[in-house]
């Protein structure tokens, strides 16, 4: 009792002192960032890393996950035939060597030999059967993976047919072009070659699952740290749902010698300010920043920005009479000041984009970045003047002197700011245009967009696989992600030809041509920016590799040096 009285007095004093200091304090923040933590600087720094994530892990079942948090965690504790290296190239994982490739009856057969020393964390062998088990599970209607379409994307035989309802092969998972020849030999039959087949195999949907163990755990498999087995560089030592999870080094991992980190702790921290405060007190080693924190930190050495291959753009619904007019769309494309958006509003390393396939994403057959073609994007030399002109012509063509459009967006703080920005941009530059902003919660937004119930809507898209097609296929006529009644025979033909073209160089050209049709000729969408990510990272954290697709990051090669 006495103790709690004192706690009360203490609390009161604390509250009071806080108010007083809050009133009296000047702007004395900033300063240097190396407060807190031990400043040992010893050579054998503790190989421990403290991180945060903004969400819980929804699922550790490789066939069921759909979100970045899960994929990132899986990349540390599981491993497929390949994994992404620091250059985002597939490097050998469970596969012992590059596969033997044979042509058989017009199909290509890849034969993989698995490593002798690829083990699950209980010491048992990772077998070809474990791969087949997981893949069949992903495709079976009862346990269907939201990413089941990946098998078709990879070109694996019957991958599409098995998940297509009404197809004679629907649900017949044993018809998949993948089989376990023996314990260490996995044979994959490809019906359609793609340049990104090996990269796709680094994706969680293609990981193995320990068949015997998973069957024994049944519906408890992968729900807790002790109901799964691991074959990656790390294992979960703890998984406290809602609070966070801890990794420790996997001693059974075949490449354990190159793994430096002993322990990694990840806590779920949703509030950016909290993450920054934790970083400043040395509790975490890396923190993502929102735009409002960038100015405070951008001159510090531990500040960095990463360009992500995620594109943001405006859909223009061509069901709308005005938006069906190309000059009106051109005016909207040109009148938008992207520099103001990325430099002032976003301020986090995002870059202005007048293109749709992102920069620093994929390289073509000749090794050049896709964006090297039209690096500035499209209509790059035109600006406000041309916008006004196009607007005038457009209005004349549709015979109106004013247009009202609904601008559909989501209800997040950032989306609201961007919507206000767009409204201001457009209404001040295009006479007679009125934008009405319609903010909706995410799910409602998707519903309205999907049913075409909008004039202009804000879109965002990140890649599912390392190829421009993951962006370009969206706008095929009646495509599931088109949603804006855009239809161009020329575009459809280019995209469909590129899908079937086997010559990589020709295919690349077709996709560049398709982007040109979409953006330059048809002006179907208004691209706005390519997203950047501002982060703080302690200088003693080395080799933290981030990836543009699949799992966000790899911890396998991280080292703590000079802490």
């Amino acid at each position: 009792m006495k103790k709690s009285r004192w706690t009360l007095v203490l609390s009161l004093v604390l509250v009071l002192s806080m108010f007083l200091s809050a009133c009296g304090g000047g702007g004395s923040n900033g300063g240097n960032g190396n407060s807190g933590g031990d400043d040992g600087g010893s050579e054998s720094a503790k190989q421990e890393l403290n991180l945060t994530d903004s969400a819980e892990i929804p699922s550790m079942d490789t066939t069921q996950a759909t979100d970045t948090t899960s994929f990132k965690a899986m990349n540390q504790v599981f491993e497929g035939l390949y994994r992404l290296d620091k250059n985002n190239e597939p490097t050998l994982g469970v596969a012992a060597e590059e596969p033997q490739v044979e042509e058989k009856d017009g199909e290509t057969v890849y034969t993989f030999t698995l490593r002798e020393d690829a083990k699950w964390s209980d010491g048992s062998q990772v077998t070809a059967e474990d791969f087949i088990y997981a893949w069949h599970k992903a495709l079976h209607p009862d346990t269907l993976s939201p990413y089941a379409s990946m098998f078709g994307t990879a070109g694996i035989k019957n991958g599409n047919a098995i998940v297509t309802e009404g197809d004679p092969l629907y649900g017949k998972v044993e018809e998949l072009g993948a089989k376990a020849v023996d314990e260490k030999t996995l044979e994959i039959t490809i019906e359609k070659e793609t340049p990104y087949f090996k990269s796709l195999l680094t994706f969680a949907t293609f990981y193995p699952q320990p068949k015997a163990f998973a069957e024994e755990q049944a519906d408890k498999y992968a729900l807790e740290a002790d109901t799964m087995l691991y074959n990656g560089p790390f294992v979960f030592s703890e998984w406290n749902h809602g609070e966070g999870w801890n990794y420790k080094k996997n001693t059974e991992y075949w490449d354990a010698d190159v793994v430096s980190l002993e322990n990694i702790s990840v806590k779920v921290v949703q509030d950016v300010a909290t993450a920054v405060n934790l970083y400043e007190t040395g509790k975490i080693d890396r923190a993502g920043l929102s735009s409002d924190f960038v100015d405070q930190f951008k001159d510090r050495e531990d500040f960095n920005t990463i360009l992500e291959p995620t594109m943001f753009f405006l859909r223009m619904n061509q069901e709308n009479e005005a938006l069906a007019n190309k000059n009106v769309r051109k005016a909207l494309f040109l009148a938008y000041d992207r520099d103001g958006l990325v430099n002032v509003l976003l301020n986090n390393g995002s870059i202005a984009a007048k293109y749709f396939v992102p920069s620093d994403f994929v390289s073509g057959p000749n090794g050049d970045d896709f964006r090297k073609f039209a690096p500035e994007g499209f209509h790059a030399d035109m600006g406000e003047e041309e916008a006004k002109e196009a607007w005038k012509t457009g209005l004349e063509e549709i015979g109106k002197d004013s247009v009202e459009l609904e601008f559909l967006t989501t209800d997040s703080e950032l989306a609201s700011k961007i919507a206000e920005y767009a409204k201001e941009q457009y209404e001040s530059k295009l006479d007679g245009l009125t934008l009405t902003i319609n903010k909706q919660p995410w799910k409602q937004f998707l519903e309205l967009e999907d049913s075409g119930d909008f004039d202009i809507s804000t879109g965002g898209w990140g890649p599912d696989y390392p190829d421009p097609m993951t962006f370009l296929y969206m706008f095929e006529t009646d495509g599931a992600y088109n949603r804006m009644a855009y239809s161009s025979e020329k575009y459809d033909e280019l995209v469909s030809n590129a899908k079937n073209e086997t010559d990589p160089a020709k295919r690349w050209e077709m996709m560049q041509e398709a982007e040109k049709v979409l953006m330059e000729e048809d002006i179907a969408i208004v691209p706005t920016y390519q997203r950047g990510l501002a982060i703080l990272q302690k200088d003693y954290v080395q080799n933290y590799y981030v990836h543009p697709f699949g799992a966000d990051a790899s911890y396998k090669w991280i080292k703590i040096e000079g802490k």
């Binding site: 709690s4 706690t7 009360l8 609390s11 009161l12 604390l14 509250v15 009071l16 806080m18 108010f19 200091s21 809050a22 407060s35 807190g36 819980e56 929804p58 699922s59 079942d61 069921q64 996950a65 759909t66 979100d67 209607p141 009862d142 269907l144 939201p146 089941a148 379409s149 998940v163 297509t164 309802e165 519906d219 729900l223 406290n240 749902h241 809602g242 609070e243 806590k267 779920v268 921290v269 949703q270 509030d271 300010a273 909290t274 405060n277 934790l278 400043e280 007190t281 509790k283 919660p441 995410w442 799910k443 409602q444 998707l446 519903e447 599912d464 599931a480 992600y481």
Partner: protein, 309 residues
């Protein structure tokens, strides 16, 4: 009293069932699917997934299934946290929320009563004004502002307390202060007003005239009579603490239930929406009952059960 409580329990069960049904149907009006990456699922996949989770059945059938499961104590499994039982999720999350809520309520109430009593007894003095300044600040400054300021000054600048996480008593201090501030402010103001009113009553004059010491007058006659309205506001305060700690949980990274509650609505995680709503309603109904019973104890004039002795 027994008969009164029995009657109340029956009406509680009915209220509970009505809440369950209403929540169920309102929830079904939410647009979109409960699936995680809806924007990347094809229509055919959505149909298949709906089938898998029984979401293609008519709403009436789904309602019937849900209520039957509910009566057997089965709250279902989460969509967002693949396959985990709703009851498990609630039970692992409720600990920190309950601890924090209870500690804040305790600290806030005691401190609030203390300040309110002092202010009334030292009416128009420095203590009175000081208390009222604190009360006004506590009510007008939102808890997340207090939380943010504390985190920056006590956590980062002076490094007196841990910035965040949930790992022992030291970690509970800042969140408790942030949440308790509103409780302190509310109760201090009410207590002061009530005390002042009671102190002016004839029976206080009588008690003093009888020769009772002023301590006895304050404790036995004033505080007891002044605390009836406090019990009235305790109900809403407790409920506010149950649901209103979300922001604080977020700022201090406390693995509580508030975050789940809000997130489930944003992501259409139907079983979690139902589970948390029913859980909170249950607590709410229980608190109301407790408050009503407390009335009778504090003030015998308030008859609960039709005057039967």
């Amino acid at each position: 009293m027994g008969r009164y409580i029995g009657g109340r329990v029956v009406s509680m069960v009915i209220t509970f069932l009505i809440i369950a049904s209403l929540t169920f149907f309102l929830m079904k009006l939410l647009p979109g699917t409960p699936f995680n990456n809806q924007e990347k699922l094809s229509d055919a996949q959505i149909v298949q997934l709906n089938e898998k989770y029984g979401l293609n059945d008519p709403v009436a059938v789904q309602y019937f299934n849900y209520m039957t499961n509910l009566l057997t104590g089965d709250l279902g499994v989460s969509f967002q946290q693949d396959g985990r039982q709703v009851s498990t999720i609630i039970s692992e999350r409720i600990g920190p929320s309950a601890y924090l809520g209870f500690q804040s309520l305790l600290v806030g109430t005691i401190l609030g009563l203390f300040l309110g009593i002092i202010a009334a007894l030292r009416h128009n003095s420095f203590w009175d004004y000081g208390t009222m300044v604190i009360a006004v600040l506590g009510i007008s400054i939102p808890s997340f502002v207090i939380a943010g300021l504390m985190q920056y000054w006590l956590g980062v600048k002076w490094q007196l307390l841990p910035v965040a996480y949930w790992d022992g008593f030291a970690y509970t201090i800042m969140p408790t202060i942030a949440i308790a501030s509103i409780v302190v402010a509310t109760i201090a103001r009410f207590m002061r007003t009530e005390m002042l009113e009671v102190l002016g009553q004839d029976y206080i004059v009588t008690a003093k005239a009888k020769g009772l010491s002023s301590t006895a007058v304050v404790i036995r006659h004033t505080i007891r009579n002044a605390s009836i309205p406090i019990i009235t506001i305790m109900g809403p305060l407790v409920v506010g603490l149950m649901t209103g700690t979300l922001v604080i949980e977020r700022i201090f990274v406390i693995p509580g239930l508030g975050e789940k509650f809000v997130n489930s609505i944003l992501t259409n995680d139907f079983p979690i929406i139902m589970g948390t709503t029913l859980f909170f309603s249950f607590l709410f109904i229980l608190v109301i009952l407790l408050v009503d019973i407390l009335y009778g104890i504090v003030d015998p004039r308030i008859r609960l059960a039709g005057g039967k002795e």
